[in-house]
Symmetry: C2
Subunit: 501 residues, 2 copies
C-alpha cells in the first residue's frame, strides 16, 4: 500500500488521540468497576480533561486539513479499501460535528445533565411532572441536533440512522408490524397456559460460585481471557479498548444466580464481536462495531438463541451444578423451563425474550408519535399505559414502573430502543444462514461445538468491525432483506413446545 | 491567603498536569491488576504518551517561568507555608532535572531497560556474567546522574538522599552498626534454640477465604474502603492517586494464607499513611509521602510491631478462624509462634523481622563498597556470599539466590535498600512515643483499640504528607535523633520470651 507523508502524519495524529481516548476509556471502566466512592472527583476531573482534549483534536483545523487532503482523488485512490472507509467515515463525522454551533453543543450537554438528574428524581418520587419539562427540552434539542447533523433528512429517520446506519422508519414499521401481528396471538395463548412453578429457584446462592460460573461460561462460548477480563458493576456492560482488550462487567447477588449467567452470555456476545475485529483495524474508525442493532444481534444471539436452548446446557449442566451446588436438586428440564418462562411483566430489562419484543415496540411507536405527530409530552404517560394494556394486558401502577423506567430518553437517546429488537430480528435470520452451513444448531450445541458457531460469526460478521454497514452484512450473510418471519417462526415453534400450546 | 494571577495560572497548570498523571497512574494500576495479556501494547503506548506529555509539562519553559516568579520574594512571602514548601520543592526538582543533559537522560532510560532484561535472564539462568556489564554501566551512569542532580555532594550520600531526604552514610553507619552488634549475638542464640514445628500450617487454603480475611484485616487496622480499594497482582504494592483514592494489591495462593495476611497489613500501613494526608495537599508536591524510610516505617509498624504482636490477634483470632476455617485446629499460641519464627534464610523478601535487618545491612555495606571503594563488579558475588556467611551463617548455593535475587540494582536504585531497615529503626522509636501518649501498646491491642494507634499516627505523621522532612518528623514525634537502641530492645525482649533464651 502506498503511504504518503500526509498519510503518515495523519496516522500519527490519530495514534496520539487514541492514547488519550484509551486513558479515558480506562477511567470510565475503573469508575464503574473499582473506584472507591471518594475517588469520584479525581477520576471525573481527569476524564473531563482528557475527553475535552480528545474532542479538541478530533474537531481541530489540523484534523480538517488531514481529511480534506486525504479525500482528494489522488490520495484517496491510493488508500486500501479499509482506509478509504476510515477516511470517508471520519470526514462525514467531522463535517457533521462542524455544523453544530459550539454554543448549541454546550447547551445540549448541560441540558442532558440536568435532564438526567430530573429523571432520577422523577423516577424515585414517581412524579412525571418533574421530568416533563426536561423531556420536552430534550425532544426539541435532539431534533435540532439531528437537523444540524443530517440536514434535509426526516428527523426521526436521522435519529434511527444514528444508531443503525441505513435503517429508516419505513423498514422498522414493516418488520415490527409483522412481528407484532404474529406475536400478540402467540402471547395470548402462552398467558392462558399453566405457568411454571419456580419455587425451587428461590434460594440463597453463593457469590464466589456465581463468579466461577461466569468465567466458565465466557470461556465456553469463546470469550478469550488473553484479550479480555471481567469486572463487577451495578449494570453489566461491555467495553473495548481495541480487539486485544475487551472487558465485560457483571452484577452478582445472593438472591439470583440465573441473571449473572445470562448477563455473562449476553455481554460475552458483545465482547466476542469486538475481540474478533481484524487486528489491522485496531485504533481506527473501523475498529469497533458502531452499529447498535448489529451489535445487539450478537449479544442476544448468544443470550437467547443459543443460551436459552436446552442443547446449550446439555454438555455443561453437570459442570454448572458442580460449580454452583445450589442447582444440584434442579433438573436440566426444570432449569430450561425456568429460563424460558414467559410473563407479562412491567419492566423491559427483566422481560423474557417474547415479551421483550413488545416492550421495545411500545417505545418505538411512542417515539414515532413524538417526532412525527408531535404528541404533547403531558400525554405520554397515558399513551404508554394504553399500549402496555393493549399489547401486554398489564397497566403500570406507577409511572416509575411505566414511562419513567428507562434512562434513555433523559439524555436524548431517541431512536436507540428499536435497535434492541432489530438485533433479535437479525438473530432469526442468522439461524437459517448458520444451519445452511453448519447443520442443525441443536446438534452443534448438543455436541458441545458452540465454538464452531462462534468461528462462523467471527468469519461472517465480526472481523469487519464497522467497515461493512449493517445492510451489507445482512445481505451478505442472509442473502435477503431484513425480515421478521424467521424469528417469528422460532418463537412459535419453541414456545408451542414449551407450553404445550 | 493571597492569590495572585500568576499563582492561579500556576495552579491550573499543575491541575492539568495532574490529570495526565492521574491517567498514567491508573494505566499502571490496571496493567498490574486487571489488564489481559494481549492488552499490553495498547496500555504501554498510552502510558508512554501520557508520561512523556507529563514530563514535557513538568520541565517546560512555562513551568520554569512559574517557579521563577513564585520564588521571587514578594510572591513567595505571600504564600502559606504549605505552598512555600511546594514551590521550593518543585523548584529544586525542576533545577535538578534541568541539569541532566537530554541525551544522557535518554541513554539512561535505555540502559535501565536493557539492564532489567539482562538481570531477568541472568537470574533465570543463574549466570551473573550476563548481568555484570549492565550492572557496571548502571553503577557508572547512576553515579553520573547523582552528580548532575546534586553537584558537589558525595555520590553515595546523594543517592541515599534521593530516597530519604536528609540521610547520609554517617548516620546510616552509626545506627546500622549499633543494630548489627546487638543483633548478631541475639540471632546466634535464637538459631541455637529449638525451632518451631510448622507442619500444621502445610495445608491447602481457600482463596476466597483469604480475600475475605484481607478485607477484614484492612478494615480492622483503619484502611478506608470509601477512599481505597484492593486488587490482585503478582507482587503486592500500594498506589495512590490522592488521599481519596489509595489502592493496595495482594497476591493469593492455595499454599499459604499467612503471607497474604501480612501483605495486607503491610500495604495497609502504606495506604493508611496516604489516605490520611491532609486533603488540602491533594494534587501537590506535598500530597504524598515521598520519603521511603518514613513510608516503610508505617507499613512495617503495622506489619511487625502491631501485626506480629499476640495482642493484635487476641480480639480477632476467632473471627479469622471463622473466615478461614483451615485455622480452626491451630491455636492462637501456635499461630503466634509461626508468624514469629526466625530462620537464617537466603531470600530477603521472605525473611522474618530479625534476619530481615541483616539482609538489608549486607546490601548497604556492598553499596558502600561499590561507591566509596570502587570494588570491581566481578568481585561482588563473592563479597555477597562472604557477608551472608558472616552475618547469617548461610552461603547462597547459587547467585540467583544470592546477589541476583533483587531487581533494585538492575534499574539503578542504589541507596534504596537502606530505607527498608531505616523504617524498622524508626518503628522502635515510635513504640516509646506511642506508649508515652496511649499507654501500653499490648493493652491497646488486646482491647481491640488499634484504631487509637492509627489515629495517633494520622495526627503525628500522616497528615503532613511530604511537607515535613523525615528528620523533622522523627524529632517532633520522638524528641531525639534516630537511634537503633529502641528497636534492639524490642527484639531482645520479644525473642527472649518466644524462644525461652
Amino acid at each position: 500500500m502506498y503511504m504518503s507523508k500526509i498519510f503518515d502524519e495523519f496516522k500519527e495524529y490519530i495514534e496520539e488521540t487514541n492514547n488519550l481516548d484509551h486513558a479515558s476509556t480506562l477511567l470510565y471502566w475503573d469508575m464503574e468497576t473499582s473506584m472507591p466512592a471518594e475517588g469520584f472527583k479525581g477520576h471525573s476531573d481527569a476524564l473531563a480533561y482528557l475527553s475535552t482534549e480528545t474532542f479538541k483534536r478530533s474537531t481541530s483545523e489540523k484534523m480538517g486539513d488531514f481529511l480534506e487532503k486525504l479525500s482528494a482523488k489522488e490520495e484517496f485512490d491510493a488508500l486500501d479499501s479499509d482506509w478509504q472507509y476510515i477516511v470517508r467515515e471520519m470526514k462525514k463525522n467531522y463535517d457533521e460535528d462542524k455544523r453544530i454551533p459550539a454554543d448549541f453543543y454546550k447547551e445540549y450537554i448541560v441540558a442532558q445533565n440536568e435532564s438526567g438528574v430530573a429523571w432520577q428524581e422523577a423516577k424515585k418520587k414517581n412524579d412525571f411532572s418533574i421530568f416533563a419539562p426536561h423531556l420536552e427540552k430534550m425532544i426539541k434539542m435532539t431534533a435540532q441536533m439531528a437537523e444540524y447533523k443530517k440536514p434535509g433528512m426526516d428527523v426521526y429517520d436521522a435519529l434511527l440512522n444514528q444508531y443503525e446506519e441505513g435503517m429508516d422508519s419505513a423498514t422498522y414499521d414493516r418488520v415490527f408490524n409483522s412481528l407484532k401481528e404474529g406475536l400478540l396471538p402467540l402471547l395470548n395463548k402462552i398467558l392462558a397456559a399453566k405457568p411454571f412453578d419456580d419455587s425451587k429457584f428461590k434460594q440463597k446462592y453463593d457469590i464466589s460460585s456465581e463468579k466461577a460460573v461466569e468465567k466458565f461460561l465466557l470461556d465456553y462460548i469463546g470469550f478469550s481471557f488473553d484479550k479480555g477480563c471481567t469486572g463487577e458493576t451495578e449494570h453489566p456492560f461491555t467495553l473495548n479498548f481495541n480487539s486485544k482488550d475487551v472487558r465485560v462487567s457483571n452484577h452478582f447477588g445472593e438472591d439470583d444466580a440465573i441473571d449473572p449467567m445470562f448477563s455473562a452470555i449476553h455481554e460475552g456476545g458483545h465482547a466476542i464481536f469486538e475481540q474478533n475485529v481484524a487486528e489491522k483495524l485496531d485504533g481506527t474508525a473501523g475498529g469497533s462495531c458502531e452499529y447498535l442493532g448489529l451489535h445487539e444481534s450478537q449479544s442476544r444471539f448468544y443470550e437467547n438463541i443459543l443460551g436459552r436452548n436446552i442443547n446449550f446446557w446439555k454438555p455443561i449442566y453437570s459442570k454448572i451444578q458442580e460449580l454452583q451446588p445450589e442447582f444440584k436438586d434442579i433438573t436440566l428440564e426444570e432449569f430450561y423451563r425456568y429460563i424460558n418462562s414467559v410473563r407479562n411483566s412491567l419492566i423491559r430489562t427483566s422481560a423474557d425474550e417474547v415479551t421483550y419484543c413488545l416492550h421495545v415496540i411500545v417505545r418505538y411507536e411512542i417515539e414515532k408519535e413524538i417526532f412525527r405527530n408531535h404528541v404533547p409530552v403531558s400525554e405520554l404517560p397515558a399513551l404508554w399505559n394504553k399500549k402496555m394494556e393493549e399489547y401486554l394486558h398489564i397497566t403500570p401502577p406507577t409511572d416509575s414502573e411505566g414511562i419513567l423506567q428507562d434512562m434513555h430518553w433523559s439524555d436524548g437517546s431517541f431512536g436507540y430502543f428499536p435497535t434492541y429488537l432489530l438485533g433479535t430480528i437479525y438473530d432469526g435470520m442468522y439461524i437459517e444462514a448458520i444451519e445452511k452451513d453448519l447443520g442443525s444448531i441443536d446438534k452443534v450445541l448438543e455436541e458441545g461445538r458452540i465454538k464452531d458457531i462462534t468461528k462462523w460469526l467471527n468469519e461472517k460478521i465480526h472481523r469487519f468491525g464497522s467497515t461493512r454497514k449493517p445492510g451489507e452484512v445482512i445481505q451478505a450473510v442472509c442473502g435477503r432483506e431484513v425480515s421478521a418471519e424467521p424469528i417469528l417462526k422460532y418463537f412459535k415453534e419453541k414456545y408451542t413446545q414449551i407450553y404445550n400450546l
